[in-house]
């Protein structure tokens, strides 16, 4: 970086900078000052001594990575969140394309609203609902039993639990993605379809040759932007639905940190995990932003 291209000109731009001040100050007070607290990740924290606790360097991290529980939570997190990410794109895109093919505007709007509603419910409520319908005597198992397929312990079986998380999360959230993709579809010039029709394209060929390619930039953008949160597998959801029986496959970084830090009062280790996660996320955000720029021409500035 050699020299600034634009001269900073406070005399003409000061109004803009003035508008920026409150935001910067608040961010500084509430986000940057507390950052000082991360030093406890490098200390053997002791409530009595506070931030002046003895310095241990990277000891906490060493301890963490030697814990098989912790490495296990990383894999669990990745497994759940990558699947959520993948299905979180495939499902909304498919539904959006299907909805877009619908002739009746009224029905289209109805479905749109219907699938968006779960998005507004918190996981606390959703967890209650899920526990009920997924229980051994719940709606789903009753149906499965009637169909002669036996019952499934959705929340208690370690093999099934991650999938319960993935599917229920996609189910709760796909309405939002669908709306984003529907909006992108609205932006496609209808005369392209008419043109394709006259060129001899069937419905399916229109979807394949026009809809999907023109949706691609949005798909890439959404994918890349969500890469930044790949270490967030959904604390609210998992915490409200898991149990020690499924820790083996269902314990994710966030729930682990929570138990460690808050419940077992191992503040230092908890802070270390949090710091590790933030670091990975920061790297992911930066990389994904670069990728978004490269693949989809997306830029914030």
């Amino acid at each position: 970086m050699k020299g600034k291209k634009k001269k900073f000109n406070i005399s003409t731009l000061w109004q803009y900078y003035a508008m920026l001040v409150p935001g910067v100050v608040l961010t500084f007070i509430f986000s940057y000052i507390p950052l000082y607290g991360v030093i406890i990740a490098f200390e053997k924290y002791n409530v009595g001594m506070g931030f002046n606790s003895p310095w241990v360097g990277l000891e906490n991290f060493r301890y963490l990575f030697s814990q098989p529980t912790f490495t296990r939570t990383i894999w669990n997190t990745l497994f759940i969140s990558v699947w959520k990410l993948a299905l979180g794109i495939i499902v909304p895109v498919t539904i959006a394309v299907l909805l877009n093919e619908m002739r009746s505007d009224k029905l289209k709007r109805f479905y749109q609203t219907l699938i968006y509603i779960p998005n507004f419910l918190s996981w606390i409520i959703m967890a209650g609902v899920l526990m009920d319908i997924l229980s051994s005597t719940g709606a789903i198992n009753t149906i499965l039993a009637k169909l002669g397929m036996g019952t499934v312990n959705f929340l208690g079986d370690a093999k099934v639990f991650p999938w319960t998380m993935i599917v229920s999360d996609v189910w709760k959230g796909f309405g939002y993605g669908t709306i984003v993709y529907l909006a992108a579809l609205l932006g496609i010039d209808p005369s392209l379809y008419e043109s394709a029709m006259l060129d001899g394209a069937t419905r399916w060929q229109q979807i394949k040759n026009i809809t999907i390619p023109l949706l691609m930039p949005t798909i890439i953008l959404m994918t890349v932007l969500s890469l930044g949160s790949v270490l967030n597998a959904g604390f609210d959801q998992v915490y409200n639905l898991y149990s020690p029986a499924v820790w083996e496959t269902g314990d994710i970084i966030d729930t682990y940190v929570y138990r460690l830090g808050i419940q077992q009062a191992q503040y230092s280790v908890g802070a270390a995990v949090g710091l590790f996660k933030s670091l990975v996320s920061a790297i992911m955000v930066v990389t994904s932003y670069r990728l978004a720029d490269k693949l989809a021409g997306y830029r914030i500035l």
Binding site: S191, L192, E194, M197, L198, A201, Q205, M216
Partner: protein
Amino acid sequence: MASLTLKNIKKIYPFSSDEQKKAKKKKDDEPEKKQVNLQITDEGVVAVQEFSLDIADKEFIVLVGPSGCGKSTTLRMIAGLEDISGGELYIGDKLVNDVAPKDRDIAMVFQNYALYPHMTVYENLAFALKLRRIPKDEIDIKVREAATVLDIMQYLDRKPKALSGGQRQRVAIGRYIVREPQVMLMDEPLSNLDAKLRNQMRAEIIKLRNTIDTTFIYVTHDQTEAMTLGDRIVIMKDGFIQQIGTPQVVFNHPYNIFVATFIGTPQMNLFENAELLKNNGRYSVKLGDYTVELSEDKQAALSAKNVAAQPVTLGVRPEHISLSAGGIDAKVDVTEMMGSSVHLHVDAFGQDVILIVSTLNMTQKELDSLNHGTDVRFDFPGNVCHLFSKETGINLEA
């Protein structure tokens, strides 16, 4: 390459929502002057009706008319993009009312070109052929052939975004050349181009027409395009055909006042206070104190219909009026210097009359004298008078 027959074609756009219906009710209650006098019925908006036209193989038909008169609707019905509400549409001798667009073998150039933005020019040209599962090398030959004709060879690898308006236009046309469709439809293909490019592309379309020998239906609201391109012109208004004829016919024998004023620039002058006289079987027209005997062909036409003497609306084109020693008194209002001619706006009988005066035989002094307030006189011969019925607005000769 096929003939086309439209029989009493009709298009009704059904109301899409209750609101429109309510709006219609309101309109029924308090009739007010609407800009577009489309018929609004209980079923919906009638965009096109009583549209009957026989189009010969390889003919170039131009649909022309003011905005909202149903040109695009007609074109889209032919293409199959809109359902036909009534009447019959034949391509060749096959009834195609219910044939899907992709099976009609029709190509259409859209106003915004509708190029596939994610495909290169080459892919755009090849798309229709690819869907037809034509072998790759054959596609390649056809694409390159069309690209050569349209002079877009060097752009084959570009995306449409990287092309100028004129180049996009060529690609849009090229997409259909490769297909060799039976009928080629164009919906205002030149309206997005600037004046110069438009003239150039117009010439190219004329050239193209000679190379690709197919039936053309061309929509425009530009009457110059209509006059220069069409074998026959269909003039529409409010969903009805006003006149069908060669450029010559619609210019010289406009069927009604609408056609008379729509075709020709500047617009034809209309005099409401004229009178058709009949003396000893000879017709003449009287405007103020000026009387002129009609030409023989007009005499014949009027006699054949045994038209009675009556007050008429007289139409005379600006290029047919000349300054004269005698004739009608007028005062110069505005002069528009056009180079080889002057458009003279004069005031006569309290109305604006335009006449075109050639500057060829005028001295600068004479020109300079034609400024605001100058008294002039003008007249016109008997062969350029268009007489329209006061009641119906229809040409009395028709």
